[in-house]
Each structure stands twice: as structure tokens, then as C-alpha cells.
């Protein structure tokens, strides 16, 4: 299929992008890698008046350090992420999850920021960002910037805190260095498919005790979720199969996953518990 006709802008700076968005009329779509947007436009499930293509906004691409944070430009591609030495060192959870996104050709175009701003609860990166308490840096009309924590960024199904005229610029995540173990446990029917459920786990051990635990759930509701009860049960607990299994049993608490052809809600909740157990065991080195 062929997308419906649209006006097209290809800015080269964030300022130009903001202007293009402002000038784009009522129905503007911001295109990052386009790997979700173009198929949807081809099926004519979306027919925006204007598409603002960010692929030439080079200032949005790249990973840098800022103190205890990794700062990932919104237009950094999944492939960039997988090749980036800083991510390899401090962002292993991001790398593990990114490796499971779609396939290599899609990862060459698809971007970190695009995947987050699209906010598909079945996408792999939102749960990771949530687990890491990422900060979303957003530029508004006129260039003013604001920062939104992940806990407030994902509002609803395909809906974020991004307001009209705004642009996601970069995402700040805490560096996870020594002592942290991570695991992205993805469950799907075929390799290329979206997650039925996935669990992003990061665990910091101090000796035989779990000092910190961050667990994000993919596709367990209309937004990514934290497995808060499990996290609380883990912190301060001994690293043992029993404690991890008991904590993982609480992973689905408070979730309201959807039912679809691949899984009904109760099965998703079951998977969340099993996969959380597996992810935490792997992250904790069990």
C-alpha cells in the first residue's frame, strides 16, 4: 500500500524541527526512524497532514556521559545503541532489550527516542526506561526545555506526556556500573513478533544480599509498569531461589493486562510472574 498524501518537512536542527511542527497544521506526525509510523501510514491507519522527519537532525543522535547519567539522543538508532561503548559499559539492560527489538534492518532505522515516544506497551524499551527511572528531556515551542520522569511520561496506550508542538530531545538514564546485574526476558511466539510479555530486571547485589532492584513489565497494561511489590520484596533479601521465587510471585500485582489472540489476561499475569523470576535470577547471578 501507499500512504495518503502528506506535506513533508526535513529539519536539520531542533529549532527548525520545532518550527516545522508548529507550522505543520492540525495533524502533524513527528517521524523518527519511521519503522512503526510508515507501516501504519501504508495501511492508512494514519494519514497525517504533515510529517516532520527528524532523520537529519544530527544533534539528536548519539550517546554521552553526564556525571552519573547516560544521555541518549532521541534519534540514536537501535544499531547505534548496540555499537555504543558507553551503553555497553553502563547500559547493559538497554542493550539487551534493544537487541530483541524487531530485526537488524529495522534496528538500523528505528530509534531509541522514537520507540519511547510511540509508547507501545508491547514495545521493549518503555519498560526498560521505566525500570531505570529515566528522565525525558522535552523541547517545547520556542525551544524551552522541560524534564519529565518516566513515571509520568507514559500516560496511556500510545500516549505520553508529550504535548502538542513538543519534541523528545534526549533521555537520561542512570549509569548502572559495578555490582549491577541485568536481564531482559522477552516472551513471544516468533522471533520477529512483539512481546506477549517481557520483563526488564536490574539488580544490585551487595554480597549475598539484594541492595537494589528495578523491574519493568512490558505489555502488562496500557502503559509499561513497574513490578513494585516484587522490587520491595527483593530489597534487603538474601540472594536465594526461594526469596526470588517468592518475590516474583507478586510481579503481576496491580496489573490489568489486555486479552488478545496471543494471550488472555490471566495467562499474561502468569507469564509476568514466571518471567520475573527468570529475569531476576539471571540478573542476580543465580
Amino acid at each position: 500500500m501507499i500512504p495518503a498524501s502528506f506535506a513533508y518537512a526535513r529539519p536539520t536542527t531542533v529549532d527548525e524541527a520545532l518550527q516545522a511542527i508548529a507550522a505543520g497544521g492540525e495533524d502533524v506526525k513527528i517521524m523518527a526512524g519511521g519503522q512503526s509510523l510508515i507501516p501504519v501510514m501504508r495501511l492508512r491507519l494514519a494519514a497525517p497532514e504533515t510529517v516532520v522527519d527528524l532523520t537529519k537532525v544530527t544533534e539528536l543522535r548519539g550517546v554521552r556521559e553526564d556525571g552519573d547519567s547516560l544521555v541518549i539522543g532521541a534519534m540514536t538508532t537501535h544499531s547505534d545503541i548496540l555499537r555504543d561503548p558507553l551503553v555497553a559499559r553502563y547500559g547493559k539492560l538497554i542493550a539487551e532489550a534493544t537487541e530483541t527489538v524487531a530485526d537488524p534492518a529495522v534496528r538500523h532505522r528505528g530509534t531509541f527516542g522514537g520507540a519511547l515516544a510511540h509508547a507501545d506497551p508491547a514495545g521493549d524499551l518503555p519498560a526498560v526506561a521505566l525500570a531505570l527511572d529515566a528522565e525525558f528531556v522535552i523541547a517545547g515551542p520556542g525551544g524551552a526545555r522541560r524534564s519529565v520522569p518516566a513515571s509520568a511520561f507514559f500516560v496511556d496506550y500510545l500516549t505520553t506526556a508529550l504535548e502538542e508542538g513538543e519534541l523528545l530531545v534526549e533521555v537520561r538514564v542512570p549509569k548502572l556500573g559495578e555490582g549491577w546485574g541485568v536481564r531482559y526476558e522477552k516472551f513471544n511466539r516468533v522471533a520477529q513478533a512483539w512481546s506477549i510479555v517481557a520483563v526488564a530486571a536490574a539488580v544490585r547485589r551487595e554480597g549475598s544480599t539484594i541492595a537494589e532492584a528495578r523491574i519493568g513489565l512490558t505489555n502488562m497494561g496500557s502503559t509499561p509498569l513497574r513490578a513494585t511489590a516484587t522490587e520491595q520484596a527483593l530489597v534487603g533479601a538474601d540472594v536465594s531461589l526461594e526469596t526470588v521465587t517468592a518475590a516474583a510471585a507478586q510481579a503481576a500485582e496491580g496489573t490489568e493486562p489486555s486479552s488478545d489472540l496471543n494471550a488472555q489476561a490471566d495467562y499474561r499475569q502468569h507469564l509476568a510472574r514466571v518471567l520475573t523470576g527468570r529475569a531476576v535470577r539471571a540478573a542476580a547471578g543465580l
Binding site: 500500500m1 501507499i2 500512504p3 495518503a4 498524501s5 502528506f6 506535506a7 513533508y8 526535513r10 519511521g34 519503522q35 510508515i38 507501516p39 501510514m41 501504508r42 495501511l43 510529517v51 522527519d53 532523520t55 544499531s79 524487531a102 530485526d103 537488524p104 534492518a105 529495522v106 538500523h108 532505522r109 522471533a191 520477529q192
Partner: protein
């Protein structure tokens, strides 16, 4: 209409395109590069895979305007000096194709795979081409072809080093 300048398989083209024109349609319909084909609407099948500035992309999920100023390589541009690319040769010698419709995309994806991982294991090959669907071969001979090409390309590279 937007003007684009693009190099495809070593030749330069300058064209006016609608922004909504997909790269694959531009290649097929305006340039006559019909070796690259369309297999789906959702970027699942990978039949349209080409290289854009040296990286594999699904040309049904890239706009032609996005290729402005870029270098595109298709299945029609990988044989050099009348010599098949080692990957083309390997697909032939290992019977890695039957109907051949997925083959251009499969070959382009496989070349990209080896660029990033010159000596892949069987499971790395299988995962590396997970974005390319084949309905005929059951993939066994495609995996064998990629293995053969990897061996040949690394020994060639070794000989040059």
C-alpha cells in the same frame, strides 16, 4: 514534489518524487530497479531489503525523500566486474533459494549480517536474518549459504590483509 539526488548501484539519479513515495516504489517504478521487490505492508518480510549508505534497510519502510544525498545498493549492484558476490554464489551453490522472491532481500540482509559479524554461529545467522521471511526453503540451505559465504569472504579478506 520534492527533488532528490541519489546514487543507486553506482549511478547518479536526480528525480522529483512525492514525499509519500516509498523508496522501494521509487527504485522499481522510477529507476526500473525491479530486482528489489515488495512482499508485505508491515516491514515483516524483508523482501525489499537494500543497503542505504551501507546498512540494510527495508526499502518499503523508508521514504524515497529520505534517500536524498545517499547511496543505495540493491541486489542489482553487488556483483562486481561480472563476478557474482560471494553471497550470491553461495545461495546458488547451497540451493538457498527456490522461487527466488525473498532472495534479493535475503542476500542483502545476509551481506549486512556478515559485515557486522564475519564469523557467525548458526544461531547468530538465524537471528541475523529473522527479519526476512522465506516460504520455500525452510531456511536450512540459506543458513548453509551464509556459512559458506562467511568462510569465503573471510579467507578473501585474510588473503588481502
Amino acid at each position: 514534489m520534492t527533488q532528490i539526488n541519489v546514487r543507486v548501484d553506482g549511478a547518479s539519479y536526480s528525480d522529483d518524487v512525492e514525499p509519500r513515495t516509498l523508496l522501494v516504489h521509487y527504485l522499481r517504478e522510477q529507476l526500473g530497479k525491479v530486482g528489489t521487490v515488495v512482499g508485505c505492508d508491515t516491514s515483516n518480510c524483508g523482501a525489499c531489503t537494500v543497503h542505504l549508505d551501507g546498512e540494510s534497510v527495508k526499502s518499503c519502510t523508508v521514504l524515497a525523500v529520505q534517500a536524498d544525498g545517499s547511496e543505495v545498493t540493491t541486489i542489482e549492484g553487488i556483483a562486481e566486474g561480472g563476478e557474482l558476490h560471494p553471497m550470491q554464489k553461495a545461495f546458488h551453490e547451497k540451493h538457498g533459494l527456490q522461487c527466488g522472491y525473498c532472495t534479493p532481500g535475503m542476500i542483502m540482509a545476509s551481506i549486512d549480517l556478515l559485515k557486522n559479524n564475519p564469523d557467525p554461529s548458526e544461531s547468530e545467522i538465524r537471528e541475523g536474518i529473522e527479519g526476512n521471511l522465506c516460504r520455500c526453503t525452510g531456511y536450512v540451505n540459506i543458513v548453509r549459504a551464509v556459512q559458506q559465504a562467511a568462510g569465503e569472504m573471510s579467507s578473501t579478506a585474510g588473503a588481502q590483509a
